[in-house]
Every structure is written in C-alpha cells, then in structure tokens.
Symmetry: D3
Subunit: 256 residues, 6 copies
Amino acid sequence: MTRILLFNPNTSTEVTDLLVRVARPFLSPGSTLVPVTAPRGVSYIATRAEAAIASGIVLDVLAEREGSFDIAIIAAFGDPGLGGARELMSVPVIGLAEAAMLSACMLGQRFSIVSFSRALGPWFRECAAMHGLVERLASIRLLDEPFASLANVQDEKEELLIDLSRKAIDEDGADVIILAGAPLAGLASRVRERVSVPVVESIVAAVKQAELLAALNPKKASAGTFRRPDPKASLGLSPALERLLLAEPAEKAPSP
Amino acid sequence: MTRILLFNPNTSTEVTDLLVRVARPFLSPGSTLVPVTAPRGVSYIATRAEAAIASGIVLDVLAEREGSFDIAIIAAFGDPGLGGARELMSVPVIGLAEAAMLSACMLGQRFSIVSFSRALGPWFRECAAMHGLVERLASIRLLDEPFASLANVQDEKEELLIDLSRKAIDEDGADVIILAGAPLAGLASRVRERVSVPVVESIVAAVKQAELLAALNPKKASAGTFRRPDPKASLGLSPALERLLLAEPAEKAPSP
Amino acid sequence: MTRILLFNPNTSTEVTDLLVRVARPFLSPGSTLVPVTAPRGVSYIATRAEAAIASGIVLDVLAEREGSFDIAIIAAFGDPGLGGARELMSVPVIGLAEAAMLSACMLGQRFSIVSFSRALGPWFRECAAMHGLVERLASIRLLDEPFASLANVQDEKEELLIDLSRKAIDEDGADVIILAGAPLAGLASRVRERVSVPVVESIVAAVKQAELLAALNPKKASAGTFRRPDPKASLGLSPALERLLLAEPAEKAPSP
Amino acid sequence: MTRILLFNPNTSTEVTDLLVRVARPFLSPGSTLVPVTAPRGVSYIATRAEAAIASGIVLDVLAEREGSFDIAIIAAFGDPGLGGARELMSVPVIGLAEAAMLSACMLGQRFSIVSFSRALGPWFRECAAMHGLVERLASIRLLDEPFASLANVQDEKEELLIDLSRKAIDEDGADVIILAGAPLAGLASRVRERVSVPVVESIVAAVKQAELLAALNPKKASAGTFRRPDPKASLGLSPALERLLLAEPAEKAPSP
Amino acid sequence: MTRILLFNPNTSTEVTDLLVRVARPFLSPGSTLVPVTAPRGVSYIATRAEAAIASGIVLDVLAEREGSFDIAIIAAFGDPGLGGARELMSVPVIGLAEAAMLSACMLGQRFSIVSFSRALGPWFRECAAMHGLVERLASIRLLDEPFASLANVQDEKEELLIDLSRKAIDEDGADVIILAGAPLAGLASRVRERVSVPVVESIVAAVKQAELLAALNPKKASAGTFRRPDPKASLGLSPALERLLLAEPAEKAPSP
Amino acid sequence: MTRILLFNPNTSTEVTDLLVRVARPFLSPGSTLVPVTAPRGVSYIATRAEAAIASGIVLDVLAEREGSFDIAIIAAFGDPGLGGARELMSVPVIGLAEAAMLSACMLGQRFSIVSFSRALGPWFRECAAMHGLVERLASIRLLDEPFASLANVQDEKEELLIDLSRKAIDEDGADVIILAGAPLAGLASRVRERVSVPVVESIVAAVKQAELLAALNPKKASAGTFRRPDPKASLGLSPALERLLLAEPAEKAPSP
C-alpha cells in the first residue's frame, strides 16, 4: 500500500476536503491518501511572502509526519518549500504545480496557467522558472477582481475563467490550459467541453505522478544536490524539525 | 480498459519483448499493453537520418492501427515522429525520452542521460532541446566502443554504464540518471543500489505517464498547435496514412 | 560545373517550375540547377506530421540521386529532413529556410517570417529553433483564411502579405522580411518597393548560399556530429536508401 | 540618519559581530548599523531546507523590528526570504549575495563565487538564477572538506580559498572573485594582493548599496509585483507578522 | 578624497551642468566630481553609429585625463566605450546605464527604460544585452515625436513620459522605472509621486555606485578578460591614447 | 559590376594584400574588389579597447569612400563598427566574423573559433553574442604564446593551430572550424586535409556572402532599427563623417 500524504499548506480545510474529493476516484487500488491541512499560515497562499512563510511550515509538518507516508504532495500551486523538502525527506516529494506543468508538457508544446487572483502572478512565474519550464509557459492569465468566498470561487468565476482560457489559447498560443490553485480543484472536468484544448486537473496529475514515482521506487540520493544534508544543530525550531535536521543521512531501504 | 500501444520504432522484436517484460508488472489493473514492432527501418535508431526515416514509419503504423488503442508510446529514446503523431492522432501519444525526462525532473534538478553508443549523442541532445529541457540536462554520457549484440548490450556494458553514471554525478552535477535507449530496459532496477542517485527506468515511466494521461482523459485539441490539421490529399503514401491525412478533424468523444 | 540539386519536397511540379524560374537568372556561370519534385507526399507541406513524412522522402530521393549533384537544396521552407541529409550525404545539403534566415541576418538584427497559411506556424517556429535563431526572429505572421490555388496564392494574397509585413515591421520590430514558402517564390522582387525594410527572396538566397558552399569546397566530416554514420543494415527501405545506410564512411575526394 | 538593519539570519552572534566589525569603517557619516542575529534557526545556513526555514524567520524578525530601521540587509549569502521581505516591507530590503553580485558586475564581465562548504552549491546557484545573473556567473568553487570552527574558518582555509580563486580565474574565466558567506567577512581585503583580479567584500558592498538605495529614496511600490499585498488574516504566526500581513497597504511617506 | 570623473560623451555642456547639479547633493564628504564634456561628437548620442563614434572619443578623453581621477563615470545612457575603457584604465570605470540598471535590480524584479526619442531603442536594447540584463528588462518605452530643445526636453515631455511609465507598469510588468538619458537628469525626483513604482535617478545611482567601488578599492586585474592589454604600437591616434596603448601593464598600487 | 570594398581595419597592408590574394580567385565575373587599409589604428585589433578605436575609424573610412562601392566588408574578425556602419550606409555592409560564422552554420550544428592570440578571446566572444550565435558556438580556442611576426604567424603556428582545432573537435564538440583573424587568411585550404571537419576560410565566405547580398539587391531600410538615422549636427569629426551624419535619409535607388 502506497501512503500518499496530501498536504495542503493553506489553512483552509474545505480546500483540503475538495482536493481529496476530486483526487480519490483516480487512486489506484494500491494507493491511499493521507490528507493534512496546514496548522498555521494563511487560508490561501498568494504572494512571495506567504509562500516564504509556508515553506517553513511545510518542512515542520513533513518532519512531524515522517514515517507515516511513502510519498508527499505539497498541494498548493506554487510548490512552497519543495526544494528543501525534497532534500530533507527520505521519500519522494512533489509539488502540485510541478505535477500539473510536467503533465501538461505531454499534451502540447506550451501551456498557460489560468487562475482567479492577480496576486498569484509573481509566485506562479517564479515557480515555473524554478522548474526550468519558462520556455514551455505560454502565459499566466489571472482575474483581477475580488471574489466572495474561497470555497465557491470556482463556481462564482467559472465563466470568467473560461474566457481567460480562450484568450490564452487565441492570443498567447497555449496548447494546454492549467486551471491553477487548489481552490479550483474539480473545475477542469466541468469546463473541458467548453475549452478547445486539453485542460489539466492539477490534483489528479499530482496523485498519478505520485503513483508513478512510487512505481519507480527511487532510492534516496546520497550524492548530487538532493542528497540528505549533513546533520546540523538548530535553535528554537519545532522538535520534529530539529530532530530531522540532526539525523544522520541514511539511504531509504529498498522495497522488498 | 485502457489499451496502451507500445510501439517500438526499431525493427528488433527482442527489444520489443524486453520492453513488454519490464513494463508489464507495473501496469494498473485497468490497463493493457499492445506491443508492436516496426515493420521497416533499422534495428536500432541512432542518428538523425535514422530518426528521420523512423518518423514517417511511426506515422504509418499509428495510422494503420488507429482505433485499436487509447494511447500510444513511441518506445525509442529520442521520440521519432512524436510531434507529428501528437498532431495527427485523436488519442494521446507520448515518447519514451519525454516520459523519462519529465519523470526525472521530479527527482532532482538536473538529470544525465547515459547510454551505450556515441552515435546517439546528437539525436538525444536535439530531443532534449525539442522538449525545452536543456536547462534540466546535466550531461549526456555515452560509451564509445563496439558492442557484441544489441540484445545483450546491457549485460555486456553494465560495469561501464555504472562508471559513466558515476562520472555524470561527480563531474557533471547530475541529481538523477536516465539509462537511455530501449535496449537498456530493465537495467535500472539491477544497478540501482550501485548508483548514488535515483535511476529512472524509462519504459516504466512511459507506461505510468500513459496511465496518467488516460486518467486526465484530455480532449483532442481543436485549437492551438496540436489541433487536427485540415484534410489534405496526398500521393504515394500508405493507404492508412493517406486516409488519416484526408480525415475531417473531429473531437474525441468525451468518456461516458 | 557545380550541379545544384533543387529538390522540392512538395509534390507540386508547378512550384518546382516556379522556383527554377526565379532562381535561374541568379546562377553563376559555373553552376547549373537539377530540379526534382517529390514523387510522393503532399502538395505543400504545412504541419509537423507532413514534415515528418517529407523528411523520409527527402532521404529517399537524395539517396537515389547520389552522385548526380554536387550540392543539394531542400526547397521547402521548414527544411524537412535537413539534419539527416547533412549527416548522410557526402556533399553539402542546405535548407530553403536556413539559407533565407542566415541571409536575413546580414541585413538587420531581427527578421520576421511572413506567409500565407496559419497551419505553417508551429513548423516554422520549430525550424527557427532548430537553427538556434530564435533570438533573431522578430515574429511569424501568417494569413488565416483559405486560398484558391497554390499556384496563384502569391497573386491572390499579395496585398494581405504586404499588410502582414508592415505589421511585422511596425509592431514586432522586424528589420528584415522573409516571404516564406516555395509558392511565394518571386514575390519578394515584386513587392520590394512597397515594404520599408529589405525583403529576402528565399530561393535566390538558397542558390547563392549553395554556390558559396561550393566555393568553400568543404570536406565531408569524419568527426563531429555530422560525420558519416557507421554502416547499418535496414529492412524494407528503398534500395537506394538501404545501400546508402550500408555504405562505408568515405571522405569526399578533394577537388582537383 | 539612515538606520541600516544588518540582520544575520544565522544564529551565530560571532558572525554578526564580524560583519559589523568589517562593515563599520565604510559607513558614511549619515548612516548607522542596527545589528540583529536570528533568534531561531541554524548557526550557518547551507542547504535549500535551511534557507526555507530561514526565510520565514527573516519575515518574523523584520516584522517585529518594523519602524526601527530605514533599510534592511539580509546578511546571509543566498538571500533567504528576500523576495517576500521586499514585497512586505515599506522600506528597501537587499540581500548580501545580491549586493555582492551586482557590485561584481561593475568590475568585469563574469564573476566566480568561492566559499568553504560544498553544501552551499545548490543554494548559491539558485540564488544567482533568482537574480537573473546566471549569464554573469563564471562558476561556483567550493571546498569539500570539514572545517574546525565557523568563527575561524576564514583563517583555517585562507590558502585553499586563494587556490580555488585562482582556479576560477584560470579555468573558469572569472574576471572578479566573490568570497561568499558571512563567515568570510573581512577576508577579501586580506587576500587581495594574492589574487590577480578584483575581490569583492560582500558586506561592504551590501552596506554601500544600502546607502545608495537610501540616497535614491524610492517610494514603496503601489503597483507591480512588489506592491504591498492585500491585507490577509493568518493563523498561528508571530504577532508581529500577523499584524503586518493584516496591515493596509500604505505608501511610504516621502522624505521631507 | 575620491575624484570622480563625470564624463559626458555628448558635446552638450548644458547637459553636463545638469548632471553635476543633480548629482552633487548626493556626494559623500570624501568625494568630488570632475565634470568633463566631450570635445568632439554629437550633442546627444542616439544611434549605433553615434555610439561607435563616441566609444573612441571616450578612450581619447580618459587617456588624456589619466591620473587626474580615481574612478570614471561614462555619463551617457548606453555606456559607449565602457568595455574598452574598463580594460585599458587602471582605475574603475562605470556606465550611466549600467549603474542605473544594477540599482534598479534591487528595487524589483524587472525594470523598464523610458526615454524621449525612438531613435534610442536599438542602442538601449543592445546595452541591456551587453550587460546580461535582458531577463530583468520589462520593456523599453520611447516617445516618437520631435522635441523643441535638448536642454528642456524633460519639461516639455514630462506628462508624456509619465504616461509611458504607467504603460510600462500596467502593460509590460515593470516593477521599477528608469528615466533614461542624461538630458532627463533630475526628472525622477520631480515625478516620483506620480508614478506608482520606484523611479531610479540614473546619475545619482552612478555617483553612489562610483563611491561603492571606491570603498571596495579593487585592484587592477592582471588576469581575466579585463587585465591591462599588452603594449601595442599604433598609428595616427591621439598622443595620450597612443601612450596608453604602449604602456606596460602595471597593477594599481594598493591604497595606503 | 559589383564593387566590393574590402576594408581592413588593421593598419597592416601586408594583411590587406593577403586577404586580396586569397579572395580574388573566388570572385564571380561581375565582381571586383576595392581593397583599403586603415589609415589609423593598430596593426591588428585584439582587445575591446582596440575594437572601440577601430569602430570609429571604420565609419570614417566608409563615409569617405561613400559612392565608390556597392557593398562593404569589414575585414577584421570581430566586426568592429558593423552595427553603426549598417545603419549609416545606404549599401550593405557585412563583417568577416559574421560571414564566416553564418557560413559555418550551414556545415554543422556548432562551430569553434580557433586563432593565434589569447588576447582575442573576449572580443570574439562578444562578437558571437552580438550576432545571437552563442548557441551555435562550441568554443573559442586560442594560442597563448608570443609570435614572431604577424605576416608569418600562420606559417609559424600552423601545427599548433591544427592541434587546437583537433581539441575543439574532440573535447568541445565542434562540427566546423573557423580559423579566425585576417592574418590567417589562406590557411584553411592548406590544412583542410589534416582537420577532420570542414574548415571555413573566412574571407572567401565574406566575398561570397557579399555577392549573395548583391544578388538579393536589398533596398535601404526606411523603417526598423537599421533605417537611416535622422540628420544630426556634429563637432570635430572628419568632414566625410560629418557630412554623412547630416545627410537626409534617402532610399537607395532600385537597380535598373
């Protein structure tokens, strides 16, 4: 049984529930989801500052849950803390944006990211750059107006998001659309017949990429830039994180 | 049931058999493999010229088999004919190199491609560039000496390929190794404990990415650069390909 | 006498005739044109799939004609099969797009490609990328409407193509215009006084670049990525191509 | 009087003291340093994970000290939390790496970063990429052996660091050397006569760039990607950071 | 005392006076300005040809004044002759554009360059490319209409330049504005409250960067690409330049 | 009759003679060479400073000779003053490096530049960057030792230059070699049988590219970044250059 930690770094439990609801039907028989919501932070991460805050919290939570999962998904588009988590943990860690973008690459040459808040632009762009995928990114298209509630933003803005998707296709040359952001989970399947190119459902991409990594069963790197760091003392961090930073590097035992 | 066409564009049936043998244990319950070997061409594609020859043959075979599969894998590292096939077919098509490289991206920042013949270098490099992944490519490391037989090249060269992998890690900064080329299928799991970073098994990556795309169930683009081309008359091509080029664009019917 | 093979990979003999008509007045005394039209394929190549089909046919025809020419021009903008042909043949091979783009580089910093069919966009863009010239490409501007006949498309669309050229100059920053595609041969000289920057006539550029290469009289590479590949057996290919793939690498004899 | 917050995101007070000792002689009459050491974290940040941890702590400390400084220096080479801090704070914030690299750009075409621990490599490289300066980076050269104490690492490794600098010049094409990392503060002036190109003292560069920004007296952006984010509620963060995230955007009052 | 040569490579003495007037209040106690106006050339450099003419004149003037300054600013946005001067002179030389662009990098991710004449576009773009800063450049926005007099262009066009700045912010994604060109000196502080992102005053940036370099007190490179060239005889050049080209490389004596 | 100005921006008349001797046999019947040697400057340009000096002299000489040639070659590898000359002159101007590099692009994917003096490296690299050809440049390989005389450097260093060429092929991945620098004119044909990839003779490439441009007969741009600049008064420049800067833009009359 592959235990997939689905960690929502936002504090919004209704978004976590939504992600689980959308992802669960796509799980393979041998997989199970372990949903966790951020105990601290903001209800939805949108800016560089909020992503910086979240990145430490991601490490805290993964450290605390270590041993209870076989692979982790950081389920906020933008992938806060991904590099550090991939370095520190002995099991694979992937990001929601990473999974969606890499999956989109197989459906066309360039993809556009469409979402509901202008504030997300810089973070999304830096995320694509961090993954070396700027050449594959046609555009980022964002709404620029308030929304009533995070839980219902995908219903409230459905028409406007379809309009943005069309502009991304017609004006920016997108071959694929990613409806980005955890609060939009499930929208892709609802709008797919009204958008003229493939639409990627990010959380489904993430769960299936997690299963792919489980199948590849990669060993933990003991060399390269993602090897486990040398043990290091720390001051004032959470006990779990302090312990993890102090731990000796050890290779993950191979699957039997 | 998802029917995955595993098309080996090389004429070597023992390589096709090997790919099936390695991939089959990783298939999900709802998937089945349809293995096909190139009826024309060379026993293993290595150069730009051989890839150009193969790209037309890929289209021929996919056109001929149309309707008998739900997704296709072009199972030669280098992905001959991928762009054209993705454009022309109404179901998703992925390449072995594409699947391996995108999967490697989730295991580190930069990957190296390691294989058994110097002749493969230019084609592999142009393949990485075509996919916009040069920034993620640490190096291509290739043996430069003859091998006794294609069917046994992975046994014959195992030690040398491990040595190359180590050089890629130590000197080129690779976080991940891809043992590239269909004749090396199955080698990754055998050498994994002797390489200090994750090693990607390309055909397993390809089969799981195929299942991921099946889960995403993308519609056929009717816009963007991978929309079905306009119908066009042709001269002297295979009947199946002639028919496919003449067909009216039609969106894939949505899944029930 | 330098025999320049002018190979039109489209099946349209009127386009071949047009290319010859436009190019011939620019031939140097020591050069002669050997025009050949594709025996198979489509009347004009526009998509990735059609380019993939053409690339194998290019190799077939060049293999069959080997020995009857001193240099070859692949006379479709997009350069199908160029890399493979350059690798395989012992004499120089150049592409129509390559010759036009490199020539344009000497007339300004950035050029725009203007042509008559939207379908050509992805292929042209990938061609510019293949040649490493994206930084020099200001834009690709294409008409998006049907045309009555290929043979007369340049007359029918003359005004619209001039309009597109002006937009490329005013909005995209083009210093040079390339009217791209074999069916537009001859148009550049007709519209030159109505476009405010230099307009490159692709087939004239190709013929003069062919003569330049003849003057440089380059030896066939026996090293690097364009050395003659090792001999390789094949299955089901044309006799000429099978023979060429099997041939021992041999350096071109130096000119006396 | 310009109050420059010199925030060391490492927990090592002796490094903070060292930075102040090196920087103070270069302060202009109108400037004063406000040194602060991280209350939590690790004694020296080296990995992606440690940088992620530090980035949240940077925001905490800056939020807590808000109003007590006119400009802030994040004094760890690698610039943890820089983007978020620049976004959130109403006064300018700069990074030690940023200041050193931009200053190096005025002394040559390409610079090399030389430091004392192999673990720093990935973080430094990602920092240079984040600043869009990869084209200016000749190489990163790092020692790969343990050191006795952080406080004395610059004395212990002086010869080896000079050797690395020479290799960066001779083999990598460096025009300028940056001795990177807060624990190396002061070393540049000691070794300058033994290195054949300019050596940048990072903390001096940072203090002078801080004074430059004070002279430019930039207003806080109310547009663009560094405008003050919209107010947002949070959960479980430090009181100061919670307050800052909740604050209404307000432009910095212009200097009288 | 640091003597900063402020060399205006334009022949317009009123522009030199303006630069001095704007810069002087920002000088540190230990600095003094040595203003010099080009004795030959054009009143304001705008094109590649004029920049080429200026680059030789820059070398002439710097050679002639050698020994009378400790650092030099080439005070035309576009930095004519900068590379050669940096190579040839034993003291640091910086450009007005370089100083402004590097300073802007600390105030946001991308900057736009705004100026008063369309003719400046190619030169400014090539300047940004020369400095490897294209990734940080959001756009160049230029007026396209005549102006009455160079001395008053900043007053005459103030409103239009503010409009262009706003377009750069809203449409091109600029985080920072550089009002470029020596004739616009002083305008930044006048318009700052009407532009919603930081506006960089180029000459202030240049003077403070000059003081920063004076603080770093870099030695003259005796290796790398900015080492003093080997002595070389010349013909028909100005006596000072001839002498400088003939001089033996000598390291700048370290400051006492 | 096409009059091709072959302008050597070095003051060495024996190099001019050599260039003419090598180029003349390749002239087409309708072409004639007009050789000119720089009246001022250095005997061979090697550094950024010397290139800056030369760029003004190039404009002086071209202005003075205006009307006496139909196309100009700036015959120093590095192309001093090319951009300005192309802007200012009403006839085409090309550079020796530009012509050689663009020609090399048709003979392989990447070329290496091989020459006789280490001092040339930065200038050559910046030249390749200026032309947007860095992606096509495999390496620059330079001798690092004195030579006896410029006139005989190609004989003296023949063996060493062949060695460097082999290293460029074997270690750097060069498909083509450019023996760069006017003093090496004629060497390519002498060493061609001893180098395993094509060797480009730069001056032959330049003369044939000049004839190609003559065949294309481009009009002078009246738009784009190479349009004739607006008339401008100047001070202290050569009479011819002053006159040219003052001239009204006028389109070149079309050929009859």
